[in-house]
Amino acid sequence: MTALININVQTQDFDVAKEYAALRQNNTQDGAIVFFSGLVRDMNQGQDVKGLFLEHYPAMTEKSLAEIVDQACTRWPLSRVRLIHRVGQLHISDQIVFVAVSSHHREAAFEACHFIMDYLKNRAPFWKKETTPQGDTWVAALDKDTYALQKWDEHDQ
């Protein structure tokens, strides 16, 4: 099965309703859509957050996201994958990232969506700098994000 893949890295916001409608359009074979939406929290790693700036490595970003999605398509039978990641200045409650997967069955959709987010967190060249009352600080990478990849190694699929 060849999946329809659509990936964007952009400063502007996205419309989840529009993206969901696009996944359903002319799609009578899929029984499952799973999506993940990542939002700016008002508190991170114990600090008040006022907003954040998302830096990236433009030449590499879409390429690395495409590689992650391709890996997911190799592991699971997916019909459509939509991925949007924002860059630039963001505020509290803003949408940061959107990953949506449609598949015939729920297991593939759940696992692939989770897999894409876990790899994106560890491999895609984005860096967050948060605005806090103590000044601007770079977000530290978390060990739990690295550990999150282990479940996909142990995975016997």
Binding site: G38, Y57, M60, I96, V97, A124, P125, F126, W138, A141
Partner: protein, 82 residues
């Protein structure tokens, strides 16, 4: 010639977006780091951190990977997107 780029906290700490480097190629990523430190001794601690990642032509590689003339070599801290 090699085009070297720095991102995020590493860019700020080194106070450099990147440099162009004339070295004998092919060579390893480690050799590139050594050449950078030769030019800027105070970069040593920051570039040799175990957590620093390297991408050659926009793909993450390890320190033993070979660099060719004309490659784009980027160094950056662990990623924190998503």
């Amino acid at each position: 010639m090699i085009n070297v780029l720095f991102f995020a906290q590493l860019r700020e700490t080194l106070n450099s977006q990147g440099v162009e480097l004339n070295i004998d190629t092919p060579c390893t990523v480690s050799a590139i780091k050594n050449a950078l430190v030769q030019h800027n001794p105070n970069w040593q601690t920051h570039l040799n951190l175990a957590t620093v990642l390297c991408a050659v032509n926009q793909t993450i590689v390890d320190n033993q990977s070979m660099i060719q003339d004309g490659d784009e070599v980027a160094f950056f801290p662990p990623v924190t997107g998503g």
